[in-house]
Subunit: 248 residues, 6 copies
């Protein structure tokens, strides 16, 4: 990070601007799913399961291709104050739909759908505890669950070759008190109206870039600095994903 | 248990007829809720959080009384095969509504609502992994979360006296291969169409008795044997709740 | 009933503790349904129709078996004060779903689904006037409508043998002012927080037992007394069902 | 009726072209509602209840006026084949909404809303058995229930003067096999694509005229003949309403 | 019009009682639809598109016949004050459903469904600006869009003969300040509780007659005068439709 | 644009890579709304209305601030093939919710909510015809409607100072056949899975950056080239907005 840090600047967590929270990736967290990962970015904890269904969705029937999709949910008391249960309200909110569409698109970016064959893999990302960055944690963890589900398919010889090409990870970046920072936690998030979620692949390509500046608009140089930070953060996440996947 | 066990009888788990699964009650599982308990009955794991809201529900406004209510959910892949997400389907199913009504009624049975004052405590019971007996695990764990939430209110001096009178716990019983057994797991549940969920208080009273015999109807002596078993199971659960609550 | 009645005890209706209300079962109440019964338990009146559909539900297709299911509704002004129309609110409440699931399970307990073949019989139980005990009246009347629908199938030779084995009836019991009583009416129901709905078959077996004690928990001896009462009440209801079915 | 009847013409019911079915109006059919009428037009039977609510709807608060509104429903097996329960489907169909709007408008036409004061009267019209003409039977019966509810208000001195001015009744007319006929039953209705529902007041005024000719369009002289028939039919219905209301 | 106009009578728009607003019919307003018409009745503007779908609806599959149906919508700010978006509220209101059912029935009255073959034509009528009479403008414009869609099918030789027999148009009439008037605009509509929508075919037949008199009921002579006016109005609309259709 | 265009490269529309479609901004398109703009980006046409409501939303009551929000819709036949009407399906899809949230956030970025006072301005963006880039056209047009609504408030002296600071416009960019291009039309959009919507303010700041690469991931240099293009496009759009707003 080239931006000089102003004297006296300190993140609520004491982290350096370009420092991730502690990230843990725990495979096999639950037992029924073909892939089941509890991912933590600090106090943010998301349970990501991958479920294999032997059918492609209707719009792909007979095309010899599979599909990967995602659903996202937040337990009502994952947050500081309880939020309504979406099942009880009778519909998923706009934020939920937006996030699950993002997760689905991001993970399809690393899947060879012909190699998957006429199957659907659904990634359920349920937030057990939220402290900022739930969507980026979800993508990073769901990738590992997806790999496990594909290994399960390969082990059972249901598919002949691995549909996964490359890895996908995600991290948030933002400008907090004038300084570009990596992986915002909730204390930073509420106090920072310029932030960006970046999804990358391990070939260095950008899969999704979603920057929002409801308050102060990004200058081009700020945008560039944030993209630099995101590249660093994702590089570290790819290493953590690889380490987790070597585990078994 | 007076019923003689037939020779060669063996439960799938190897348990004795009157033996509970290993039950664990882990307080403080997540950090935002006023009470947060992960309860396990063997492989069944339910996260129970208690959220305090400083308002009574509309039908109690101005009456000086509080309310305790519950919501129940199952993560889509808590089960062997993935079930639809209720938030995505746009409504909670009949089973979900029935269970959350049961949990709410059961816990209100140990609460002095005047002592609670005009507050609502919501118990969210979310099943992370299901292996039979999710509703009984939920009641048993939610009780502990509820106590923690009341302690939180007492510690902050928001209420003057403890609204909890007595404890509430629940267990399932059923007739499996002709033998009354305690705390059925999934393997027994699918293969047994006579079962009963029993909620008790620690004064030995029955709070809820819900027996269902879609196949073979209960004889009166079987019903009596099941009630005996449930009493034994609940006695053990009250001891485990007390031990957990002494922890801190 | 062994419980001694305290001096001065009087039920609002003047009935004895173990006395049913006047029960009437009127067959052929409407003309389109294959079975149509107006059942009255005192002032509680429920129209139960049985509709035969020549298809099994999706989950049973091709298995050679049929299905029996129920739906329950309450006219908006069946009650003392008007309640919202569920069709207008856009969903059935939890109480409705719970009751219709109970009715369906209860009646399936007396049906040989293989003998029914790939057909669905839907029992619609619509409460025209409510005075307590609507679900038990519904089960008792729906049984008669179900028998009529099966006779209709037999008469048209659509099925070769009667799918009905045994009878099913239901009654409520509860503890009112300290005394176990049979078949609670609304005046008793609102003033009694310990009650139980019991569904039995005419072989003396218990099909469903649903006891709820939101206030005072049942002691075991009270529970036993209530089960005794329910057995007496159901015995009388089986006789009334038989008499009605001999009519034509 | 001036239209000459062709030789050999016979209505399925044997009625003359200008003949109503047997109409019965039974007051006090259920006990909780302020007005409760079972109306039959031949085999069509509709239960009409009038419920008084001591509040005006939100859009009239503080204006010193009341409101009369209607809801319409059909029991699932009121018809030849079972139709879905609207509460279970989660919404009222277009036909239902159209009919209940018609009933509400029709009855408001005879009500002095200032005399009613800030109250709402809801007319629930539930079809127990359908054989054509359910909406016209509903309007005709709901009028009587509405009068009973107003009498109830007067008797309790909640209102000072009768809000009812004049009577409202309704009947269907249509062209069946080339001949204008009154009060079509189901056998005529399905076989006749030109029909009209006419709501009148007892001063000879037309409150609603809804003619539909999906097949053959009405000629002006046919339209005139149908209006003549409707006037005759309504005159007879007003007499029947008066007779019923004199009963008590 | 035989009714003498009272001295000093003046419509808000300055029109004569039997005078239509300026009516414009603009074909090809948007480019994707098989028929696309912007119809204006004065300041009321409705976009009517006809979309051809190569499938009949489920209830007609295999019968060799087609279907014509309509949907109606109002942009939220088509009106003086913004109304809720029905998509956001989650359901179409009763008025919307009633209008779209009317449009569909009206247009089916001029279609030979066998000549259309197993196809569905959907007429979407979306109100861009409302000033009274949106449903009658919609029917009048949708007819032209429907003709264009049939011409498109004929030009591509998908169908062998024209399914359109005759024309259909619609206009509103009402009694405003005691005088029967044609084609009410919003200023008249809000101030007039006796109005009628009339749909005719160009053979002089009445397809739909929907008169509503929530306030003052129609006398028979008023009803006759209104029908006369509607006939005159529709005659003029048929000429305008023909002129528009000769354009290309 | 520094990227050299490959020989033989031609956009479907014949435009240069950095060339916008013809953009038209027509104010006062409908008459009831406080601001009403028809914006066209080539064949994409969106009607944007701004409606002033004299109340702030519930979450801002009593804070002395206003709110700006947006709703987005697509007429069913705005597209090549008809899509379902969201009002009829009963819910807005994820894409709709995502777009309307984007429009709302984008426009709030140029509004001083304290100057607006406790009011809500709703921007309804309804797509009459779609040919790619509907959300960017909507934002660009809605800005003009919003300015008109604020001028209306100023002219009536409801507010004392202009709440608008700076302008907001939006454009899409993408990589089509290897070349970065500006303002994609439908023909390019379907054939290009790397695109980005960019919202800017006229101070050169980025308000929203939403890039999606479901297929080929962006390289960093491509991302930089797209941002350059977007800056050029928005500069041109700001000039067109200013010209339109000088009109009256």
């Amino acid at each position: 990070m080239s931006t000089p840090v102003p004297p006296g600047f300190a993140r609520p967590s004491g982290r350096l601007p370009a420092q991730l929270r502690e990230v843990r990736i725990e495979r096999g967290y639950t037992r029924h799913a073909e892939g089941s990962v509890l991912v933590s970015f600090g106090e943010t904890r998301v349970l990501c399961t991958a479920s294999v269904d032997a059918k492609a969705p209707a719009f792909l029937r007979g095309k010899g291709e599979g599909w990967v999709t995602a659903e996202y949910g937040m337990l009502p008391r994952a947050t500081h104050t309880r939020s309504d249960r979406e099942a009880a309200r009778g519909r998923q909110g706009g934020r939920t739909l937006e996030i699950q569409r993002l997760i689905g698109r991001s993970l399809r970016a690393c899947v060879d759908r012909a190699a998957l064959g006429e199957r659907t893999i659904t990634l359920d990302c349920d937030v057990l505890q939220a402290d900022g960055g739930t969507r980026t944690a979800a993508i990073t963890g769901a990738y590992v669950a997806l790999v496990d589900a594909c290994r399960w398919l390969l082990a059972r010889r249901e598919i002949a070759r691995d549909p996964i090409h490359g890895a996908v990870a995600a991290v948030s970046v933002g400008i907090w008190r004038g300084v570009p920072v990596l992986d915002l936690d909730y204390a930073e998030d509420v106090d920072c109206d310029t932030d960006m979620n970046v999804v990358m692949n391990d070939g260095g390509g950008f899969v999704e870039v979603q920057g929002t500046a409801e308050g102060h608009a990004f200058r081009r140089d700020e945008l560039d600095a944030l993209l630099d930070l995101a590249q660093q953060g994702c590089a570290r996440l790819f290493a953590l994903q690889r380490a987790a996947l070597e585990g078994a």
